[in-house]
Amino acid sequence: MSSKKIVNIIAYIFIAVILIFVFTKGKPLEKPAYSEIYSMNTICDLEIYGKDKKAALQKSVSIINTINSIIDDFSPQSDVYKINENAGIHPVKVSKTTIDMLEKAIQIAKQTDGAFDPTIRPLLVIWGFKNKNYRVPSEEEIKAVLKLISYQDIVINKADNTVFLKHKGEGIDLGGIAKGYTLDKIKETLDKFDITSAIINMGGNVLTYKNPPNGSVWRIGIKNPRGSGIRGIIRVKGTKFISTSGDYERYFIKNGVRYCHIMDPKTGKPARKIISITVVSTKGYLGDALSTAFFVKGREFALQNTTKFGVGVVGFDNKMMPFISNNLKNSVTIYNEAR
């Protein structure tokens, strides 16, 4: 063999190796700007790619902390605390963010016939979900508190930036919309930076931003509502919001009955029509609040209202039978057992 031939062989091998690298590995993976923070009573994971990833991450974290400080109903400095403390007494001056979030919450409350209601707080209190001393209240107690659950009693004055609850004892809880709303704000922030890809998970509420770093489809696992692992996968493209409401995150069991933290504002008791529902949406606040409303209303209402709200749903009914809206049929895989 001549030395020329050897050079040729070497060249071929090099080309082969390079080709294999290109086709199997793609571009070398960029490292994301990553942060895991504890806020809004949950864990938030942020993973951001692109030229401005560090600045975008910093800004996103500060958005989470700012909104948390507004809605934290245990902090005397928060808008929500002040509104609740002064219910039936006088209007309270609040931030524009609080007003914006409340307006959106009221809008969805109207559209879902009150299945989502931001004035649900008094019910969460008597069931012990606020102080974790879980208990089953008496029928009379529930009946008395039900009168206080009414989103129509939120009076917003945009000229003065004030909010007022009409009756003493009423209380706002934005836990069913705040995480989705925060994801909207993070999305708006990412738009202002040079960001190629991002995935944010706030206590199960997910924002996928643009394409994944090395592909075109995001794979979002649906947590198994009864045990560990996942029970399905949703494949989404581009910027989407994915929110889930289920009876397995915060609940207590008494005398063999499961009582979850999502209250039906009509009965004053934990909703129990389905086990979980995941909403895929193009607006974070919408998906977050709708997952709560759909959880309360159940399978049929959810499936019948996907077009109205422009969302997709996948859920498990109370016999763990999966249901999927038509617009998600091709993007969801459900497993027969946890993986």
């Binding site: 050897i6 190796v17 590995k25 998970n201 996928t208 979002i220 649906i222 947590k223 994915i242 289920g246």
Partner: protein, 121 residues
């Protein structure tokens, strides 16, 4: 072909092969895990491709599990018949070793294709 040529050629081939392995092209990308249950509860989940040696306890007794080169076996169980030890190494998805007297089971499951970017809950 001269001896020297062959040497060069084979070294290059070997180098390429090593690169392949190093960069995971031949690697099994499936995420197979060993699930260990004691008294009916999952007490440990670990990847099968990482060597390990540890003790598993139950109300009835205990045994040791050895994970090596993508296989797993039981050594030194407190049970009488030692059927679990006699089972030897297992390495295929779906295979399991069950120690009935100790109420301990070791199962290999596949999480292949379940790679997700995140989980909604």
């Amino acid at each position: 072909m001269k001896q020297g040529d062959k040497f060069v050629l084979y070294s290059i081939l070997a180098l390429v092969f090593i690169l392949f392995i190093e960069y995971g092209i031949f690697k099994n990308h499936s995420t197979r895990v060993i699930v260990i249950r004691s008294d009916g509860k999952i007490v440990k989940e670990l990847p099968i491709n990482k060597n390990a040696f540890f003790e598993v306890k139950s109300r009835e007794g205990h045994l040791f599990v050895e994970v090596k080169n993508g296989k797993v076996r039981v050594v030194d169980s407190t049970c009488k018949e030692k059927l679990c030890e006699k089972e030897g190494w297992i390495g295929n998805t779906g295979e399991s070793i069950i120690c009935l007297p100790n109420r301990i089971s070791i199962t290999i499951i596949s999480k292949n294709g379940e790679k997700v970017d995140t989980v909604t809950y």
